[in-house]
Symmetry: C2
């Protein structure tokens, strides 16, 4: 029956991930890709609700950690970029003075950024004096205003965030949620008194990441990106990667420590306790709709999506069965629905006049974690019949339905967590030598503590990209695969999205 | 003391509304107007939270009425406008065939619309083959996709909405929330089987409007706009106006019945029960950040904002008083805070080390509806001291604090409703004859059932604009002020924002 439904719905097997993914996002009605601009999909109600559930997790983490939500304009006047250009010059000077070579790369990236924006040069029939661009990210817009808000140490830390759409003129192949041109984006921007305070913010960000990823049952690799993969203008970048089913890594979040580099460019200073003027130190933390892409990719199966209960747009679907045989069936369904709704669960009653099998497929495809059926016999026995999307069915007592349902949902959530952890454990293998054969769909971990030239050699030899130093290194001393030095540092090598 | 605070904060008296309004939106930290693009303000945390509280009211109304939230791309390719142009031609033909003259005006408006959009003609270093514009509203984007989603009568009604930013290249003077270039916008778009079903949707919209305005304590005038003020492409437009303190009306919402006019332009058809192909009938319903502008304008006073409790970003501010004298004070404050928070109220504990008077002013300016003070004597007496932003103070029992606070908030809400109703009642006077002197700050109601030429005469004579036929007419027969015909129809004349 499932196979029949599958064929009917045209879902490719998940083992063919590159066919499955683009098909399922449309079949499950997350997005419609037929909008006539490449890389700008229409969010359908189910997809948008899923994204909003993820956003709500984020909002509650932001509230917990005293971040304040702001909303900046979409358009940025080109002349504000002068300040960014000054930042580039500043980093150039740093290079001339022999400071950290990471800063050398900013200039190129900077140019690249201008190549990726959408320009507004006309309004109505007027050509604008100063061209504007659609935000690719909001540093420039925000850091124009922050100096007006920060006067003294009492104004610090300034912890802000916004959830907005950003725009990139992608020339690479676009993929729903993964690489799009209008991006549903989260960005937190903070300003602090000094480098240490900013570093503690990065720690807090990583704690938040941990909690969010847990909510989505997504195991991640957290790495300090190599110098050449550091965000322009950042001192360092910590990136959070998910391993997709095809073994490619997807960067779903990143945190950047800016030190005082942007503050110097934007004259962002404050009076400290002694009345001295000091530059702020800053961080940013970004995430995007890629989170939904990771959820879709990680958890789905041959029959459709599977949503982790904590972010499922519909957590429980209730189905009356043979309701015509006993009026108590519909009454019981409505009563259970009411109880579950009141307890804060997101539920749906499916009383459509369709064969049960057809309804099953619909909710299977949409990845609803729990299906509850209630028929005449269930009513008599005081039970509902619970079927988990991850497998397993059993009757649960109506007398204690809210707790029982929550228990069932917990079972689905932990099943997804353990499945995705197994996937990661299977994917990651240790690279024992440079001669080792590189297999498709594998991530390689490797003790590495070499120079940039060693890293280049490592990338060339394996044909993979270095994710960076893993935040959790080896417990025991290892030997660096290139330099031969003793090290506890761990790197991952992967094909990246 | 209040006067001192006022002078200190630089709030002009509200009687000088045109000075008060732009000052208070910044002093209360709703927006920052210093962003370097005219008409594009930065939403500060407090302002954004207020807007989100209003949006949440809207979301819950949409959920109650089975609208589904979608999210369409911001950018619209110019060539999609061809279909709108076809609509214009269609309406032209209608004119030639002698149909309702309302349709005659679309063409001009249409041209006007192109004069008001921001254009994206360049991406990176590329000139785009097809220019795109930032949505001024989403008809074109949505109605390109709707035909793909609507096949049969089973797909109807289609009830969608989105809350997004829209863009207008305003050439008039901009004012925060009231006339801006990047607009926080709500738009519902529905498709129905026939004209009647669409008309019922307009009824539902007006019911929703009623509930929302009640939540914001905003009395409104609901009018069917005259032909020349009908939305382009609409059969008719119903507009919802708030009377601001200076007596000018502010349109905060509008509903449009499109009949099958857009559906014909966009080939939006469905198979009815008999297998016949039929055109859909459509409606839209729009609102914007003007709602917040109306709340600010209607309820504020010389000392700052006053938020109606249902949409207040902070509903209750709690203040420990002389906490150093008794450790039970802070404990009690935290316990009360916990109870109020758990009951779903939005609260803030202000334990800053400042003089109480200074704290009062801060929350007075920000319009928090209720202040709760708890000092050593209050703890002893088992009371909290409640001060309403609308005036009035009294002790309330700690033993039943949640209910007591909710009661206090209800008092503030109904006080605001009755104040704003009085304001409206005072503002609206009957125009008894065309010779009557027109006073500043007044809205005139008038029995009117004349022709377009009569209406023009009425507008010219009074120097005011016609809002349209009021949805609630006179109970008794009246005499039309121009034509002398007997009528129950009521019109309002006003200066509009």
């Amino acid at each position: 029956m499932a196979e029949h439904g599958q064929a009917k719905r045209g879902i490719p097997p998940k083992s063919d991930f590159n066919a499955w993914y683009p098909a399922i996002v449309e079949i499950a009605e997350l997005v419609d890709k037929r909008y006539p601009i490449k890389g700008m999909d229409v969010w359908r109600p189910y997809g948008w609700k899923a994204m909003r559930c993820i956003d709500n997790l984020t909002h509650s983490e932001m509230e917990r950690t005293d971040h304040q939500e702001v909303r900046f304009p979409l358009l940025i006047p080109e002349d504000l970029l002068d300040k960014e250009n000054r930042l580039v010059s500043l980093l150039k000077r740093a290079r001339e003075e022999g400071v950290d070579p990471s800063e050398l790369r900013v200039e190129e990236e900077e140019a690249g950024f201008k190549k990726e924006v959408y320009w507004v040069k006309h309004a109505g029939e007027t050509e604008l004096d100063v061209p504007m661009f659609l935000r690719p990210t909001s540093e420039t817009a925000m850091y124009t205003m922050f100096p007006l808000w920060i006067r003294s140490h009492a104004d610090l830390p300034l912890k802000t965030y916004q959830i907005v759409n950003t725009f990139r003129y992608e020339t690479k192949q676009t993929r729903s949620f993964i690489r799009v041109r209008e991006i549903h984006f989260f960005e937190a921007h903070t300003a602090h008194a000094d480098e240490e305070c900013a570093s503690r913010q990065i720690d807090e960000d990583l704690e938040i990441v941990g909690r969010l990823m847990d909510g989505m049952s997504l195991p991640v690799i957290i790495s300090k990106r190599p110098v050449w993969d550091t965000f322009p203008g950042a001192w360092y970048t910590i990136a959070i990667d998910v391993i997709m089913p095809n073994g490619r890594t997807l960067q779903v979040a990143s945190c950047h420590h800016y030190k005082d580099q942007w503050a110097k460019a934007f004259d962002m200073t404050y009076q400290d306790e002694t009345g001295q003027t000091q530059y702020c130190h800053q961080t940013t933390y970004g995430m995007s709709e890629r989170l939904l892409g990771a959820v879709v990719g990680m958890h789905g199966d041959d029959n459709g999506l599977i949503f982790p209960p904590k972010i499922a747009p519909i957590q429980v679907v209730l189905m009356p069965v043979a309701a015509h045989k006993n009026p108590a069936v519909n009454e019981t369904v409505l009563d259970v629905a009411e109880q579950l709704r009141e307890s804060g669960l997101r539920i749906k009653v499916d009383d459509r006049d369709l064969r049960p099998g057809q309804k099953y497929w619909d909710w299977e495809i949409k990845g609803v974690p729990l299906r509850l059926e209630i028929g005449p016999r269930d009513v008599e026995n005081g039970n509902a019949f619970a079927a988990r999307r991850t497998g397993g069915k059993e009757p649960i007592p109506l007398s204690n339905i809210v707790d029982s349902v929550k228990q069932q949902l917990d079972m689905v959530q932990s099943e997804l967590s353990s499945r995705s952890q197994s996937h990661v454990d299977e994917c990651i293998v240790k690279l024992e030598s440079l001669e080792q054969e590189i297999l498709d769909g594998r991530i390689y971990e490797v003790p590495f503590d070499g120079t940039d030239a060693d890293a280049e050699l490592l990338e060339k030899t394996t044909g993979l990209a270095i994710l960076g130093h893993a935040m959790t290194g080896y417990d025991e001393d290892q030997v660096c695969i290139v330099s031969g030095k003793t090290t506890k540092r761990k790197q991952h090598l992967a094909r990246m999205y």
